[in-house]
Symmetry: C2
Subunit: 212 residues, 2 copies
C-alpha cells in the first residue's frame, strides 16, 4: 500500500484512475478483450494513449486491473453468497445474484469472465488462460464451500462436492451465454429455479452421486 502522505511531485494526473477503470470495464465487457481496441478504450476512458500506458501499463495489464475491479464491484455478490449458512442458501443466493448481474441495466449483458476471451487469436492466449484460471478459482471456492457443508451435515454424505460445484458453475456460465444472447431477467430466473430442483436435500441420498 502506497500512502500519499505528501503532495506528489510533478504535474498532477487529470483523471480519476478508478473512474477510468470503470469505463474501461464497460468496453471490455461489451466487446471482449480482442474486440476492444485501444481507440475504443481511450475514447471511453476520456484519456489519451500515453496516459493509459503510464497509469495502467499495456492492454493486458489494463485488462487484469479491470478484472480485479469486476470481482470487487459488479461480481462481488459471489463472495457474499458463499457466506450463507446453508449450502442451499449459498446456491440460491449465488444464482439469484448472478441473474441480476447478467441482466443488470447499467452495463452490458453477460459475464466478463466468460465473454472476455472465450476463443481468440494467438495474441490473446495469455488473457484467455487468465480468464480460465479465474473461472476455475470460482468453481474451486464453491467446491470447498460444499465440502464444508458436507462436514456440517448440510449435504448428504454421498454428495459429490466437485460435481455439484461443476453443475452450478455450468449453469451460471450457461446463463451468461443466454444473457449475451438477449435472455431476460425473468427467463433466467425460471432457468435458475429449475436448476435448483436437482439440489440435494440434507437427509436425502442420491444413488448416482458418489465420493468426495
Amino acid at each position: 500500500m502506497k500512502l500519499k502522505n505528501t503532495k506528489a511531485l510533478g504535474r498532477p494526473r487529470s483523471f480519476d484512475t478508478a473512474r477510468a477503470l470503470d469505463r474501461a470495464l464497460l468496453v471490455f465487457w461489451r466487446k471482449g478483450y480482442e474486440g476492444a481496441s485501444l481507440s475504443d478504450l481511450t475514447a471511453a476512458m476520456r484519456i489519451n494513449r500515453p496516459s493509459l500506458y503510464a497509469a495502467f501499463g499495456d492492454k493486458q495489464s489494463l485488462f487484469r486491473k479491470v478484472l480485479d475491479r469486476y470481482a470487487e464491484g459488479p461480481a462481488s455478490h459471489a463472495h457474499r453468497a458463499l457466506e450463507e449458512r446453508t449450502s442451499r442458501a449459498v446456491v440460491e443466493r449465488l444464482l439469484a445474484g448472478t441473474v441480476d448481474l447478467l441482466t443488470g441495466p447499467d452495463h452490458p449483458p453477460g459475464c466478463l469472465l466468460v465473454q472476455g476471451a472465450l476463443a481468440c487469436g494467438n495474441g490473446a492466449g495469455a488473457t484467455r488462460r487468465e480468464l480460465i484460471a479465474r473461472r476455475d478459482a470460482g468453481e474451486t471456492a464453491l467446491r470447498l464451500r460444499l465440502q464444508r457443508a458436507k462436514a456440517q451435515g448440510d449435504l448428504p454424505r454421498d454428495a459429490n462436492s466437485a460435481s455439484l460445484a461443476g453443475y452450478i458453475v455450468t449453469v451460471i456460465h450457461g446463463m451468461s451465454v443466454q444473457a449475451a444472447g438477449g435472455a431476460t431477467r425473468e427467463e433466467l430466473r425460471r432457468v435458475a429455479a429449475i436448476a435448483l430442483q436437482s439440489w440435494p436435500t440434507p437427509g436425502e441420498s442420491h444413488k448416482k452421486q458418489l465420493g468426495t
Copy 2:
C-alpha cells in the same frame, strides 16, 4: 440446385471445397470469428487468398458456410436427438451427444455457436447476431419438441416447455464454456447427470412450473 451434367469450362479448381471448409471450420472453432485471420484460414485450407474469395466469398460468407457445415456434421446429433420417442430420451441423448461433441478429440473443445463470436468488436456485430439467431433456433426446436411431448402426455400438463427448453439449452451452453476451459468428458457427463435430475416425470406435477 446446379447440375454439373457437362465438364466445367476454364481451369479446374485444384482443391476440394468441402475439405477446405472443414479446415476452415477448425480454425474458426479454435480462434473464433475475429480471432481467425485470413492468413490463418488460407494457411489451414492450403489455398491462397483469391481462391478463397472466389470459392466462398468474403470472411463473413465463409463463416456462414462453415456454420452450415458445422450443423450438418459435428453438431448433427442435435437433429437426431429430437427424434427420440420420449422427451426424457430427447434430452438424455441431446446432453450425451453434446458432451461428446464438446470434448471430441479431433477438433477444438467447446461449441462453435457459443465461442464463435460471444462478444466482439464493431466489425463482427452481424456475425454475433447470426450466432444468436442460430442458438435461438436450436432452443426453439427443443421447445416445440417439448410442447409435442406435453400434447402426447409425455410431460406433465403444467410443465413449462419454454422454461425447460431454456434450462437444457443453458446447461448445454454452460458445458460449452466449461469445455473451452478444459473440462473433461467425464466431468461434463457428471454435470449432465445432475442436470437431468430436475427433469419432470410424466405423471408427476411440479408446483412451481406453470403454463405452456
